[in-house]
């Protein structure tokens, strides 16, 4: 059997689980959860340095970007301008060309503003970024992003941090079937089985943050997600049995006493 390789652009990733680094108690817990998850890529945000506290620890001291790939995001940006500014700074920081674009449109639902997202994707691709784009689960818009040169499509399962799981399996499946670039379900995954479902649908990977960070035991949950993603992928590759309306005995009828 051909080896099952997960690739974004030219970047090969060992794990199909990408994890976020937000919402943890502290950086120590973040690092432990990331290690337990087996992820080799993590999302990070760009924020001002706290100049009043010179001794404040930095994420990089706990998670070395030499060992784990940083995927800078634009979380909290509500316009193309802000998102572009953030990612240009991120690129300057460490030479990261692979980034996650996320332009939000509504403070309550955190749904993406797809018009601003499309606008930003165009500019970033032109500037040589490899853009992984957080988007709504609309197949037409997902195709538009792919046509514009997105390196991966990241449709939401449900609102960011909601933990509601995949709400529209049909749309996610349509996006998977039409896309030539990786499809990574991002946002809304609530528990391990949600990740398995996403992988069974044929997603290339899932991105999880809150479901791990906000569980009661984040390290254990990170391990659980590692297994869930592997399980889902294997199940997808194995190809599920056909569904039937009637029963079909598992034991042979011949030789019955």
């Amino acid at each position: 059997m051909k080896k099952d390789v997960f690739k974004i652009g030219k970047q090969i990733l060992k794990s199909r689980l990408i994890v976020g680094t937000g919402k943890y108690k502290n950086f120590k817990e973040t690092a432990e959860a990331v290690n337990a998850s087996g992820a080799d890529m993590v999302t990070v945000a760009v924020r001002r340095v706290n100049i009043l506290d010179k001794k404040k620890p930095m994420l990089m001291d706990f998670l070395s970007p030499k060992k784990i790939k940083y995927l800078p995001n634009t979380a909290g940006c509500f316009s193309s301008e802000e998102a572009l500014r953030t990612l240009r700074l991120a690129r300057e920081m460490g030479g990261w060309k692979m980034v996650k674009l996320e332009v939000l449109g509504d403070k309550k639902t955190l749904f993406p503003d797809m018009i601003e997202t499309i606008k930003s994707t165009k500019v970033l691709v032109k500037e040589g970024f490899q853009v992984l784009v957080y988007c709504s689960d609309d197949p037409l818009l997902a195709r538009k992003l792919e046509d514009l040169g997105a390196s991966a499509i990241m449709p939401l399962a449900s609102p960011i941090g909601s933990g509601l799981g995949i709400q529209n399996k049909i749309n996610i499946s349509l996006i998977i079937n039409q896309s030539k670039v990786p499809v990574i379900v991002d946002a809304g995954i609530g528990t391990a089985s949600d990740a398995t479902i996403a992988m069974e649908l044929g997603c290339d990977a899932v991105l999880v943050n809150s479901a791990i960070a906000k569980s009661k035991k984040p390290i254990l949950m990170a391990q659980s997600f590692k297994n869930a993603v592997t399980s889902g992928r294997q199940s997808f590759l194995a190809g599920r049995m056909r569904k039937n309306f009637y029963g079909s005995a598992s034991s042979p009828n011949s030789g019955l006493i």
């Binding site: 919402k23 950086f27 999302t43 945000a45 700074l89 920081m93 960011i160 943050n209 809150s210």
Partner: protein
């Protein structure tokens, strides 16, 4: 003497200093941050050459936890 704005806070500098000196003053490792001077990104090789002037607006950012 120069009055600058650093990450949204007003700061008075008593000496003529460069961006490089400013990072040192705040104990910031240049490998772990990115700097914007008056909305323009300054590449790391230019830190020593950029002398801070009155009314300069500086943003120093880092990576933090995020999803």
């Amino acid at each position: 003497m120069a009055k600058i704005q650093l990450n949204g806070k007003k700061i008075t500098l008593n000496q003529k200093i460069s961006l490089f000196d400013l990072l040192k003053k705040y104990k910031l490792d240049k490998k772990k941050v990115a700097v914007e001077l008056n909305k323009k990104i300054v590449i790391k090789q230019m830190y020593k050459k950029k002398i801070l002037k009155n009314n300069d607006k500086i943003e120093i950012v880092q990576f933090i936890g995020g999803g």
